[in-house]
Amino acid sequence: MTARPPRPGRPAPRAPIDLLYSGTEEELRAAVRSLLTDRCDPAGVLARAETGRPHDPELWHTLAAEIGAAGLLVPEKLGGAGAGHREAAVVLEELGRAVAPVPYLTGSVLATEILLACACDGPEAAELLRELAAGRIVCVPALPLTLAPGAPLPAPLHDAGGGVLSGTVSSVADAVAADVLLVLADTGLHAVPADRAALDPVVPLDLTRPLATVTLDAATGTRLADPATARAAVAGALLSGAGLLASEQLGLAEWCLTETVAYLRGRHQFNRPVGSFQALKHRLARLWLDVASARAAARAAADALATAAPEAPLTVAVAQAYCSGVAVRAAEECVQLHGGIGMTWEHPAHLYLKRAKADSLALGTEGHHRGLVADFAELPAP
């Protein structure tokens, strides 16, 4: 049968968007995957998480400094690799696939983007970026993980004058691994050494991304930007973080699918591989479709951020409104289709489920991003 082509008169989309992976990106992926295969297997991640300090500083050093992943978003003149969001997205896919407990999203994406937007304001931000890009320090924003692009920013911390900061921020991801915190105060953005803040770890749903309540009590730091610059920098970083989180969710979902397919091929019940039952095959085929679609959405977001496309906010909102659900569904299917073993502490499926569910709250829920789509696509609420 013939299908009707698009209506006449509607312009065909321009096709500048690149949804594939380049050869360089695949090489980067191979390097990160090889590192994570050697040094970040699920059993190791679980063992580390049980100690209450999931971060592995040596793994981070290799990833950040030796592979150079920490500086992908940083221009070469500021000591970075001069790559971009497409490459950082590939790293995040691999980190998601391994539920790797490293401060990449918080440090190498969010903090880095904030500092990049402030680097014109003074040498301090540029200097910090240089250290961060080289993997010599870990710097994370003192913002709640749930803070979303397009949402009102939380009330800034109070500056008593001269950069003496006081206040509390909850649910700060990776703060326990940080050397420096980026703090939004009423006088602008400040870099505060983490040892001048009180960090109270909370018990997180996601064992692989630790959270802490950060309290500053007359702590001093270095002011990096005025309030307006700071707020714009944070808004931009949240957009970028949300867009790249889609790639982490993609990698996570892909692990869940691959692992579940492998298990169902090998597991026998009723004298057959369980994976030969149509009821299960159809579930996995649907999940594969979801993952293939999530890949297109995540690549579109990474590419739009990389090219600073005017439609990047819409593309990011679409990617987040879609990929959060796919990651959660993939992890839930992984648990269910593994049967009893999927419910055990020993099997790593729960690490992925917890990360997926926490990721669905991070940087804006599906519902929040749908609301943004409504704004951008001019589909107003009643």
Partner: protein, 396 residues
């Protein structure tokens, strides 16, 4: 020879110079285009092509479109272009290729597909239409019934599969033919569907005689030949290129914007969810095209039809609800026989009903999920006992 983009562009400009579209009858222009090898550049020379990479067709099409050249109305001859032609190219004799491909591409001869039967839908290989060789006449005599045949009433030719040896297991006793729809014994009856229209037909074949020269591929090899056809069908169904907010979501989004009185919070959430899914499906199809263009065909193609079928159904269902009282109405139940299949035309009720076919035609969604599970994910097939049983002994 392998033509480059520059050579194709030069050739296209030569064609346009020799046959200015404004001063040439469309049929003459199309013939000249075919004979210049610019019809489908990846086909061989002498058959409308130049043996060039398929991706370079876009170079030719872009230049022709810009010059206002006529096209061959591909929507009218989609089955010929998308299914019959690649199969004839792959399996036809030189004589068959030269006889059939040119009038097919020009649209002088419309093609239809005689595959499905009342008793052989998803299990197409179980088909029971019989073809018996009359050795003396060198002709096959065909008896049986085919169904879901679009364009049968306008078609001059059909691709047909029929059983030539019932004693063999079902996949091995099938032969592929090119059937003259004007031959005695071919009877086409409209098959009215839930939309009220009859875009499909039933085709009854009674003692239809097909010369052996119109057999495509070897006797008994019809299943392999048919698989070539079916793979091309799914690619063409899933391969529509849409702009953002194109296709089924377009009228719903337009109604939402233009008629604030219809809006409710519950419908808003559903609309946004589907808008996002439609946009992601568009990006997924775009990614697939980029993979193909880069020479890295991905398995996503198997999935696009599944996605579009589900989305078309959910979106059109939402549209009927959104319209409130107007959703109770239907444009017209008059029986018609449209020449073109239109998924998004007419009113919301039509779209809702027509979309029900999207998960059935060209392979049901259930069968496609099996294909994804087995061929993409490598999951084992269900145990089955029909593969090695002679066709005549199968339950039906």
């Amino acid at each position: 020879m392998t033509a480059t983009a520059e050579e194709l562009l030069a050739r296209t400009r030569d064609l346009l110079a020799a046959h200015p579209p404004a001063a040439t009858a469309p049929a003459d222009f199309l013939r000249a285009r075919f004979d210049a090898g610019l019809a489908w550049v990846h086909y061989p020379e002498g058959l409308g092509g130049l043996g060039a990479p398929r991706t370079l067709q876009a170079v030719v099409d872009g230049e022709l479109e810009a010059a206002g050249a006529p096209d061959n109305d591909p929507r009218r001859i989609g089955i010929g272009l998308g299914m019959a032609a690649p199969t004839i190219l792959a399996y036809g004799t030189e004589e068959q290729k030269h006889r059939f491909l040119r009038p097919l591409w020009l649209g002088e001869e419309v093609w239809c597909q005689l595959f499905s039967e009342p008793g052989a839908g998803s299990d197409l290989a179980a088909l029971g239409t019989r073809a018996v060789l009359d050795e003396e006449a060198g002709e096959w005599v065909v008896d049986g019934q085919k169904v879901w045949t679009s364009s049968a009433h306008t078609a001059r030719w059909a691709i047909l599969i029929a059983r030539t040896d019932p004693t063999l297991p079902k996949h091995r006793g099938i032969t592929y033919f090119l059937c003259d729809m004007h031959a005695p014994g071919v009877e086409v009856r409209p098959l009215r569907q839930i939309t009220g229209e009859a875009e499909f037909n039933e085709v009854f074949l009674t003692g239809v005689r097909i010369p052996d020269a119109h057999r495509l591929g070897a006797v008994g090899e019809g299943w392999a030949v048919a698989r070539t056809t079916l793979m091309n069908e799914r690619v063409s169904i899933g391969g529509m290129r849409l702009p953002r907010e194109g296709g089924m979501i377009a009228p719903v989004a337009a109604a939402w914007r233009e008629r604030p009185g219809l809006r409710t919070h519950a419908l808003h959430q559903r609309l946004l969810g589907l808008w996002v899914e439609a946009e992601v499906a568009r990006l997924t199809a775009e990614r697939l095209r980029q993979q193909l263009a880069a020479g890295q065909p991905g398995p996503e193609g198997s999935g696009m039809k599944l996605t579009f079928a589900r989305l078309n159904q959910e979106i059109s269902g939402l549209e009927v609800e959104l319209l409130g009282e107007e959703g109770l109405l239907y444009e017209d139940w008059t029986m018609r026989r449209p020449d073109l299949v239109d998924f998004t035309g007419r009113d919301a009720g039509y779209r809702y009903l027509r979309a029900k076919g999207n998960s059935i035609e060209g392979g049901t969604s259930e069968i496609l999920l099996n294909i994804v599970a087995e061929r993409v994910l490598g999951l084992p097939a269900e145990p089955r006992d029909d593969k090695d049983t002679p066709w005549k002994d199968l339950a039906r």
